[in-house]
């Protein structure tokens, strides 16, 4: 057992329920390192939805809410508004975030509330047996699209940028150092931070979409089929665009709300 894991994980809950080679454990690993680097164990709280990704923060020995399906972000917003000093980090999956909780997600991004949303994107509903998700690639075969998926794919990072998220980054599990830095930056950023992680699901994505069940080969597939965004350069077409896609400073929701309340109270007294 790694030293940091021994320090930050609930020992009685181990081992993880994740399948062998699952990327969720690697995301948790990067998060532990980010929390340790920032030294904010007492000030952080985690919220998660339903799905394999919902189990990521459950093992962390911090304040955790395991919320209902698709509604991780509303729970986190409530927590943030009642405890504005807490750093709230949300773990969610692609089906949980944009499939079932899509409306909550875009409105949280619009408000620019100070949350860090880590979305684990494995292209499929993994826990329930490999059904088609909004992020499933075009013409991919899954359990619920046995002749190929006829629906176009959501580019969730672009959706977050359009909806008004102020920090957006996308990495895959093949880039663990960059992922850790992005999570760190997202926690430090004052505003809605969205980090999309392309992860391997060796069981469902491996069997249905990529036809490759070795976790390392799947990570290599993500590495080969992605390109890193560089300023002033056109990204290669047809590849997953990785990197820091958005970083800007915009007034944050909890502060604006406090300001509006203060102004209202002053007028009331007059």
């Amino acid at each position: 057992m790694h030293n940091l894991s021994a320090k930050y994980l609930r020992q009685d809950a181990l081992p993880y329920i994740f399948c062998p080679g699952c990327g969720d454990g690697q995301v948790l690993n990067a998060t532990i390192r980010a929390i340790d680097d920032l030294g904010i164990r007492e000030d952080i709280a985690a919220v998660s939805g339903i799905g394999c990704s919902g189990w990521i923060p459950v093992y962390l020995d911090i304040d955790v809410i395991h919320a209902i399906h698709g509604r991780a972000i509303p729970f986190a917003e409530g927590l943030k508004l009642s405890q504005p000093k807490k750093k709230v980090i949300v773990f969610t999956g692609d089906g949980d975030c944009v499939g079932i909780g899509g409306n909550h997600f875009i409105h949280a991004a619009r408000r620019n509330i100070d949350l860090t949303v880590v979305m684990v994107n494995n292209y499929i509903y993994g826990m329930t047996g490999g059904q088609k998700a909004p992020t499933t690639p075009l013409k991919a075969t899954t359990k619920t699209s046995p002749y190929g998926n006829a629906e176009r794919t959501f580019d969730v990072s672009q959706l977050a940028i359009s909806a008004g998220a102020t920090y957006v980054a996308r990495w895959s599990t093949a880039y663990p150092v960059q992922l850790e830095k992005a999570i760190k930056k997202g926690i430090e950023h004052n505003g809605f931070s969205f980090i999309e992680v392309m992860t391997q699901c060796p069981i469902q994505t491996g069997r249905n979409i990529l036809k490759e069940r070795d976790p390392w080969k799947m990570m290599q597939w993500y590495k080969e089929n992605s390109t890193i965004a560089k300023k002033g350069q056109e990204p290669e077409a047809g590849k997953i665009l990785l990197g820091e896609l958005q970083a800007q400073e915009v007034p944050e929701f909890t502060q604006l709300l406090a300001e509006v309340r203060r102004e209202f109270t002053v007028e009331d007294n007059n």
């Binding site: 057992m1 994980l9 181990l14 976790p215």
Partner: protein, 69 residues
Amino acid sequence: MKITIDSRYCKGCNVCIDVCPKKVFESSNSRSNAGYLMPEVAHAESCINCALCERLCPDTCINVEKEGA
């Protein structure tokens, strides 16, 4: 380098064998209590402490430490 693999939590996904640039790990025939085929530390002397195995182990069961530290 002192490299340990925790047999309580390892699930035998073999990511560490593939990720190591110095080929420190090798697959073995020994099974953990949960029944997974465990990797073994075969060439600890060639480890350069890049800690990629630590970072990419999905079950965080690898620990790399300098000997005597």
